[in-house]
């Protein structure tokens, strides 16, 4: 494995846009409608529609642009002794998981990920699943070889 910082698979952006888009359709847009209708009984309906519209535009914007930002801010590296993951657009986070503390490694795939040929890599230590140690949206082959590589290193688990 390389020592340098790696990025996720570029299709990660597509995946996240699809996921956010789906959520927007199912939850986001109905909620905007409910808020607008609710407000229209308190304030003039024009203002209510305006607020609802702004919310919709904001959410659509988030759906389109946020995944790019997330993608640009995500890096990972398997180093000699640890797995380093760096993530977060506004709240930044750097995580280091010593390889000898890894209990097991999972790869997971939802339907959308399968469509795009991507997989998630989840790293577990004795401290539970380290959400920070999970790497979303890798090419499935990369995820699988990483899983095999990472889970091979054993050691004292410190428990």
């Amino acid at each position: 494995m390389s020592d340098t910082n790696q990025q996720l698979h570029p299709r990660a952006v597509t995946l996240w846009r699809l996921q956010r888009g789906l959520r927007l359709l199912i939850v986001g847009l109905p909620m905007c409608a409910v808020i607008a209708v609710g407000l229209s009984s308190v304030i003039p309906w024009m203002a209510a529609v305006l607020i609802g519209g702004v919310l919709v535009v904001f959410q659509v914007g988030m759906t389109i642009f946020w995944p790019t930002l997330e993608y640009d801010n995500f890096r990972y590296a398997v180093r000699e002794d640890d797995l380093l993951v760096q993530s977060g657009v506004i709240f930044k986070r750097w995580s280091s998981i010593p390889l000898n503390r890894i209990q097991h490694v999972d790869t997971r795939q939802g339907p959308m990920e399968r469509m795009l040929g991507l997989s998630r890599l989840l790293v577990f230590t004795a401290a539970g699943m380290s959400a920070d140690g999970s790497i979303p949206a890798l090419a499935t082959s990369v995820a699988e070889s990483m899983r095999d590589e990472l889970s091979r290193r054993g050691g004292d688990d410190g428990v």
Partner: protein
Amino acid sequence: MASDPPDESPTTPFIRLPATGDDESDPANAPTELERPTFRLPLEEEPTMRMWEDEIEDHMTERSGDPAHAGLPAIDSFSAQDTQEPAVPARQATPDASDLQADAPTEQADPWRGLHPASLAVNLVPRAWRTARAAWPLLLALFIGSGSLGMRAADLLILLAFAGMSVWNTFIHWATLRYRMNGDRLEIKSGLLNRQARTIDPSRIQNMELVQNLFHKFADLVELRIETAGGTSTEGLLSALSVQEAKTLRARLANVGSLALEDESAPQNAPILKMSLTEILAYGITSRTIGTVAVLSAVTLEVFMQFDDEATKEIARSVEPGILVATILIAFAGSWVVSVGASFLKHYKFQMVRTGDSIKTEEGLTTQRRVEIPLRKVQLVRADEPLMRRLMGYGTIEIETAGLGVLEGQVRQAEGVVPMVDRDELGAIVQAAAPLVETDPWTAELKPAHPRALWRASTAGIIQSLAIAIPAFIFLDILGWLALLLIPLAVVNAWFDWNWQGWLVTDKAIISRHGFLNRQTYVLARDKLQSVHMVQGPLMRMHDLGRVVVRVAGSQVSLPDVSKEDAARLMAKLTG
């Protein structure tokens, strides 16, 4: 037996399948239970009252040579006379050949043992008491309330359901639990409909607790609680065994496991720490008084409401400020008495001993608790010094392992608690619980948080208080003005917190201290680190700060904010 419950009848279709493809079974007699194929639980016969009477008699006898194991596939765990009872339907199932194989006693496997016969009676009393305590508003409403007959009937039903459930659970635990040592492993199985079989590797035991309440003491019983890592419940609960049996089991576990073997004949080590009566009472006085008062007031109000809604309103209207203040003062005094009393009962004669490589604490007047923690299982030591206790010159030390225990229905973090430790001894106790640490956080010079962290904390505090103050200011009149006071308070609070923060990372240990009102010092051995993180929120980025967070099994600890550069360096040091 005539009083067999209806679902005992052989015609009941209750989770049964016709036995197909099982050569050894007699389909009329022993239908196969639906079962997960991978779940190799030796099946047990449904207990009936009759059987349990028999069971009590020969409860403690060994059954390893039981012919039931070899000859009668339908019934594997009960003595032969049970199987000769034709009235007892063999509702359970015929284990297939491999199940039998698994259950057949091997050379190292001990026979299955059950709980002590008397423990059912002993457990029911405290169980009933706990249920009553949990449901006391209902009880009160039932007996002296003014609700309609229907309401009372509903209350009664709920109460009976509660009571029935807790009696049932206690009964099932007592009736179905079996344990044995199989070679090096402790095996525990239990359950009637949902069967559970568990194998515990003694070297994975995080801590062990022996609890003996008043009833246990009379019957010479003890409840054994074994915690392993993970999970949210006690992994091995044996309630209850005879004292002798518990000792035997413990010794066997200690032989193969991580617990230090207690040599009965050896002279006891001198306790590292003993709590005097004054200290026990002082601990009660300094315990969460304000919270208790709030709860008590709410409860009192609730009681009044139960009595009579109108009367309560009447009282509320006619009450004078003087009386109100007096009531609050009485409530404070009352809660102090309660918490002092609770502390006295709980921590009476507290002492902490180090035996071999374990730490043991012992405490309690009516209910005695003995906790044993192997030193190498200690993940984190935390010292709490709430302001009041600190002013008295004391602190509390909590020892955490990877096991998460449940105490009276609540998940508790710390497995070993040393309630009152003199300030001068805090370092020594931490040292005793985490020998790898080699640093005394009370004498070592801790590094401060970064000066800019004060700005971050103040800004965050101001934003938080604004979120409360602005709506309050808009919607409430006098209280709204008062809410504005939150803003300077937030800054003062930020300063106090910031000023007393400290951290230190040595070759062996990580120390982190936070808080003024409730000062907490976390001490952990670097040996135990599971992962290291650095986080940075938007405010921290504005001030170029970073915060290191470390995780051990069961907990995580944040260090105070330092400059981003220092945080990155620290992270590199911890992972390097």
